[in-house]
Assembly symmetry: C2
C-alpha cells in the first residue's frame, strides 16, 4: 500500500484527465468523484478506474466534452441521450435536470442511454439531498457495448441459475436529515462486489458459501473461479432469501436498461441510468420531514447491539447507511488515501505517458 494525500491524488488525476483531452470542469469532476470513492472506502470505484477511463477516451468510447441531448420530455420526465460523454459529466447534468423538474413540479425522473460508467451513485443522490430532496438512482451494469458483441454471460446469476445473466445492478437512495447526518444508501444487488472477489483472489482467502459459482455453474469457494473461462458468477444478495436480491436486480435492470432503451440482461451496456428527484415539500414541510428522519435514526442508534455482533465494517454499534463512509472519509482525509501498489504504478505510468511529472503535481 502507498499512502497519498487526497488532494495530491486528486491533482494527479486532474492532470491526467486534462492531458487526455477532458475540459477542465469534467477533469475536475471525475477526479473529485474518483478520489471521493477511495476516501469513502469504495476503492473499486476509485482512482483504479483512471487508466481504463483514459483508455476509453483514447479509443473514442468516452467522448470528452460531449453534451447530453433530451430526446423526449415532459414537465416531470425526460429521456436523455448521454452521447457517450464522460459518465460523471452526463450523470451530473441529468441529476441537475431531475432536480430542476422536481423544483418546479414536485418530481423529476430522468432515464439515460448512451451513458458511460458514472461511478458511485451516492454522489448524485447527494446532489438531491443538498436541495432538500430525496434522490433515487439505479444503473444496470453490462458487459455488452459499442464495438463489443452481446455477451453470453453476465456477472450475477438469477436465483437458482447456474450462470451470470445480470449485472451487479446497484440502487441508491439519498434522504436528507435535520441534526443527524443524511441517509445515503448505495448498494449492489449482488452479494459481493467484484472488487471483493479480486481481493480474495489476490490474498488467496476462501470465499464463503453462498457467494459464488464457477464457470460450470457449481458453487465454489475459490475466487479464481470467478475469473476463469468460462467466467463464474456472483449470487444475488439475500442468503436464504436470495430471490429477494434477484428480484431487486431485475427491477434495477428494467428501470435502468428497458426504460432507457439501452438494453437489459445479456444486452446491457455500461450504465443505463434511472434517476429520480422527489421534492419533499410537495408532501410535508421540510423541517417536519427532517425531524421525523432524525427520530427514526435515533430510534435505531439508541438501542444496544445484540450479543456478539460485529458489523461488516468492524463496528460494534448500530449505524445508518452513510455512516461507514463518513467515518472512513474523516480518517483518510487526515491520514491519506491507501492505494494498492499496482494501482499506484498504473497511475504513475499513465501520468508519465502524458509527460506529467508525478512528483510535481
Amino acid at each position: 500500500m502507498v499512502v497519498i494525500a487526497a488532494d495530491r491524488l486528486e491533482r494527479l488525476c486532474l492532470a491526467a484527465f486534462k492531458a487526455a483531452g477532458c475540459p477542465t470542469s469534467e477533469a475536475e469532476l471525475a477526479s473529485k468523484f474518483l478520489v471521493l470513492a477511495n476516501l469513502r472506502g469504495h476503492d473499486s470505484h476509485g482512482v483504479q478506474r483512471v487508466p481504463a477511463y483514459i483508455q476509453s477516451i483514447k479509443s473514442g468510447t468516452i467522448k470528452p466534452g460531449a453534451q447530453i441531448s433530451i430526446v423526449k420530455e415532459s414537465p416531470s420526465t425526460a429521456l436523455v441521450d448521454g452521447n457517450w460523454g464522460l459518465g460523471q459529466a452526463t450523470a451530473k447534468r441529468c441529476m441537475e435536470l431531475a432536480i430542476e423538474k422536481a423544483s418546479k413540479h414536485g418530481v423529476g425522473i430522468v432515464s439515460v442511454f448512451n451513458c458511460n460508467h458514472i461511478g458511485r451513485l451516492a454522489d448524485y443522490a447527494e446532489m438531491a439531498i443538498k436541495k432538500d430532496m430525496l434522490g433515487f438512482l439505479t444503473v444496470n451494469v453490462g458487459l455488452s457495448g459499442p464495438g463489443r458483441p452481446i455477451s453470453d454471460r453476465g456477472t450475477v446469476a438469477p436465483y437458482g441459475g447456474g450462470k451470470g445473466v445480470l449485472g451487479t445492478n446497484p440502487l441508491c437512495y439519498g434522504i436528507p436529515a435535520g441534526r443527524e447526518q443524511p441517509i445515503i444508501f448505495d448498494m449492489a444487488t449482488s452479494i459481493w462486489p467484484i472488487g471483493k472477489v479480486q481481493v480474495a483472489r489476490a490474498r488467496g482467502t476462501r470465499v464463503p458459501d453462498g457467494v459464488m459459482l464457477d464457470g460450470s455453474g457449481k458453487p465454489t469457494n475459490n475466487a479464481a473461479d470467478f475469473f476463469g473461462t468460462p467466467r463464474g458468477a456472483l449470487l444475488p444478495f439475500g442468503g436464504m432469501v436470495a430471490y429477494k436480491g434477484y428480484g431487486l436486480a431485475l427491477v434495477v435492470d428494467i428501470l435502468s436498461g428497458a426504460l432507457s432503451g439501452f438494453g437489459t440482461g445479456l444486452r446491457a451496456h455500461t450504465n443505463g441510468t434511472f434517476m429520480m428527484a422527489l421534492n419533499i415539500s410537495y408532501f410535508q414541510p421540510i423541517e417536519e420531514f427532517k425531524a421525523e428522519v432524525d427520530r427514526l435514526i435515533k430510534d435505531c442508534k439508541g438501542i444496544p447491539i445484540y450479543e456478539g455482533f460485529v458489523g461488516i465494517h468492524g463496528e460494534k454499534e448500530v449505524l445508518v447507511p452513510g455512516d461507514p463512509e463518513r467515518m472512513l472519509e474523516e480518517k483518510y482525509r487526515k491520514e491519506g488515501v491507501y492505494v494498492d501498489e499496482p494501482t499506484w504504478d498504473q497511475l504513475i505510468s499513465t501520468a508519465k505517458s502524458f509527460g506529467i511529472d508525478p512528483d510535481k503535481v
Copy 2:
C-alpha cells in the same frame, strides 16, 4: 386443514363484511383481495385477517364507506388523508389517482396517511400493469396507532441491533411484459414474515440461525421467543450482508411514514403508504419496452439451475417474481383453498355472529 372453494370463501367473506356495515363495493373488494392472497400462497394476508378487520370496524378503527381527502396536490403528486377507511378501498382509490396523474403527466406519486391495513401491495401494482404502467409501492408497518401508545419496540431489528425498531416494511414493483407474464415483485424487508414464525411456533420446528432475536436481544432458534414478553425481533433480510435489508427497511419506512407524516420507526401506524405509477410511454414505445422485458425474462429462464438447487418454493428451475404466485393460484383455483382449522373456525363464528348460515352462502 379445511379445503374450501375460492368462490365460496369469497362469498362468506363478502356476507360478513356486508353484515358488518361495509358498502357492497368495499365488501367485494376486501373479499376479493383477501381470498386472492390465499390463492397466491400468502395466507398471512388472506382470510385469516377477516375477524380482525371486522373487530376494527366494530371498534371504529376502520370506517366503512369513508372517502379519501386530497390534502395537497400537484399534477404529478398528491398527499392523501385516507380518513381511516377500509385499507383496500383507500389504497385502490389512491392507486387510481396515481394512475390518472401518470396518464396525463407521465408519473403519479401518492403518499397516504390515516390508512388502515391495505393487504398485499401486489394487488395495486397490478392495477398499474393493466394500464401498461410500472407500479411501485411501499408501506411501513407499525404497532402504534389511534388509541394505542407509541410502542417501545418494533418487529424488525436494525442491522446489529438487539431489539425491534422497524416493521416488516415491504416494497413492491409491478412491471408489464409482452408475451411473458408480468413481473410482480412484492417482498418484506425482514428475512421472514411474521406468519412464518407463527407456523414454526405451531409446529415446534427450529428457526434457522440468522432469523430471530429473543426479547433480551440474544440470537435464538425458538419461534416462541418472538412472541415472548418482552417481544423478540426478526432480523432484516440479507444474511451476511443484512445491512442491505436494513437499509431498504429504513428507506421504506421514510417513503411510507415520513413523506406522509404518518410516523416512522417506533411511531409507525398501521400502513403509511407510498405509491408511484410511471407511464412507460413517456420514455419508450410500450411495445419495445415489453419486448425488452420479455428478452430479460427469457435470459433468466433460459439457463440451467446450479447443481443441487431447490428454490424456496420447491422449484427446480429459474423463475421470475410473480411466477410462484401464479403457479399456486392455478392449483388452488382447481383444488380449493387450504385454510387452517383455527382460521376456518373463526370465520364461521364471525359469520354466525351476524346470523349468516355458512352453509348457505
